[in-house]
Amino acid sequence: MSAFSNLVLSPMLLPAMPASTVVLPSFSFHEFQPLLPAALLAITAMLLMLTEAFSVSKSRSYQAILAVVASAVAGFLAFQNTQLPAGLILNGRGVMDGFSSWITLIACLAAGMSSLLALGFFRQRNAERGEFYGLLLFSAAGMSLLSVSNEFVTLFVNLELMSLATYALAAFWRRGNRSVEAGFKYFILGAFASAILIYGVALLYGATGTTQLDMLYHVLPKALEDSPWLVWSGIILVLTGLSFKIAAVPLHMWTPDVYEGAPTPVTALMSAGIKAAAFVALLRVILHIGDSSAMLLHILCFLAALTMVVGNLLAIAQRNVKRMLAYSSIAHAGYILIGVAALFAGGHLGNKVGVLSATQMANSTAEMLRSSALQGILFYLLSYAITVVGAFGVLAAIERREDDGAPNAWDLSKLSGLATRRPGWALAMALFMFSLGGIPSTIGFLAKLYLFKAGMSAGLIGLSILGVLASAAGMYYYLRVIVYMYMRPPTVTETGIRHWSTEFILAVSAVAVIVLGILPGPLLDWLSQASLFSPN
């Protein structure tokens, strides 16, 4: 453990300490290192808000460029942090580990790419307003801070920072019927979910006397004996609140409406960034409260199975491509939940074996299981972010301005014959669909492979097989898009307006999907070194 861990009060010490002897904490500089990307994003966001207040310039392109540069620099800082050893920072309020740095990197990637998408998208609609990029960076800062949170109230505040900015982004076309409706639905259901979450936190605090996750880990077994009802209601409420954010079935109802109604670059940000950040929060909470009961593993597996199956089935029935991608994002959340269950099962297995025989071998096996599950989750989140931003980028490119209010704006027929109208876009879209479906030699295939492999080796064989079957069923609606693009005659003559930033994003994502799908070696090496803070 690092030098500052002695600053953290142990739970045994806490009750004995009278209030008058509270020592002011002292922080060292390197504790702030994991917060640097978020700080940079937040400061740039404030700067962008100020330029909007004081600048008289009509063009907002410089704001998009500033947002992209800030995301890139923050992403670089986060990348440098990925090798950090795991430990607690800021008196236990936060953690420093490679995992959170990778999530920060994904958040920066999502923010940067959706800023570029937004640049062309809003320019064509004369809807450029400056708050957009500021809010987008605030959201990214929230994601980054959420990934380092180790305390429930910190987690709640950062979750809200991320969500509040996104509610406003979803309703960004404040005169558009659908955008406002999406923002409203997202806001009202999101606020409901966070109220449930914070009530659960209050109950857990009552039962254990702490809101800090690593302390909770130590005192939870005893609290579970003293007041099982309080602890269980707390756990269930907290998990309900977090499952809403990752859109796990049965709390997925908001996803299709919000994804469809929000401006397409915002949808890209939501599916790539928010999903990743919410998964970290869920994962951290589960790792810290999960060891007290094996029941949680069953709940998690059930949730994963339900999310995969329902997400895929509902996506098959969709003719609206944007809604189809929303349902498919639910299905992908289900696949990632397999990884979370595997990570959790690995730890669980290790504990059990440790009690029985306490051999070094068993512990190292559990460690290996954990790290392969972690690698699988990170790789999946990264691959999904790259692919889905590209896919929404294609939708943003072909979207026509006069379709903004129409109910069939993203009907499959809008894609028919895209291969003859815009061969480059069609090829990119085909690649993204292959990757989302999991066709070999794309990044999506490898991501699924590693995730299901981790699930298998953690003993979740039935769940992994169900995952493979579900993704096979999912191929139907991904391939249907390709059929429409390549095998149907064009029904619309308009081709969509080209903008360098949109095409740049499409090209970068398409190349990344193929290159990382064929040569994932260096990335996997980096990911395998990512550390995850664990309380034991």
Binding site: A19, Y167, E181, A182, I188, A191, A195, A202, G261
Partner: protein
């Protein structure tokens, strides 16, 4: 001195009333108020538990309540703006009328 159980009972009542209001009421503003009621129920629970624990542990609860208040205020800022935008686009606040995105 009011016993902790009484405070917790009140807080649970508020929470469930908020939940019921969220699920049953039709006016967007009332639905939003129900959510605020749930947040305040959480605040009450935090404070009740803080008094029960007392000392340094109690401080956590008191401070948490302040954070929840701050977040609720920010939420009200964004939420009311969205509700105003909603009213401007369709001249009604009935949540059953908000269904352009269903098919």
């Amino acid at each position: 001195m009011i016993p902790t159980t009484a405070c917790l009972f009140l807080s649970a009542m508020l929470f469930f009333l908020g939940m019921l209001g969220f699920l049953l009421r039709k006016n967007a503003l009332v639905v939003f108020m129900s959510v605020e009621l749930m947040l305040n129920a959480a605040n009450l629970a935090f404070i009740a538990f803080a008094r029960m624990h007392g000392g340094v542990i109690g401080t956590t609860g008191h401070v948490s309540a302040f954070f929840v208040i701050a977040v609720a205020a920010a939420e009200a800022g964004v939420g009311l703006a969205i509700i105003i935008a909603l009213f401007r686009t369709r001249r009604t606040l009935d949540v059953d009328e908000v269904r352009a995105l269903k098919h």
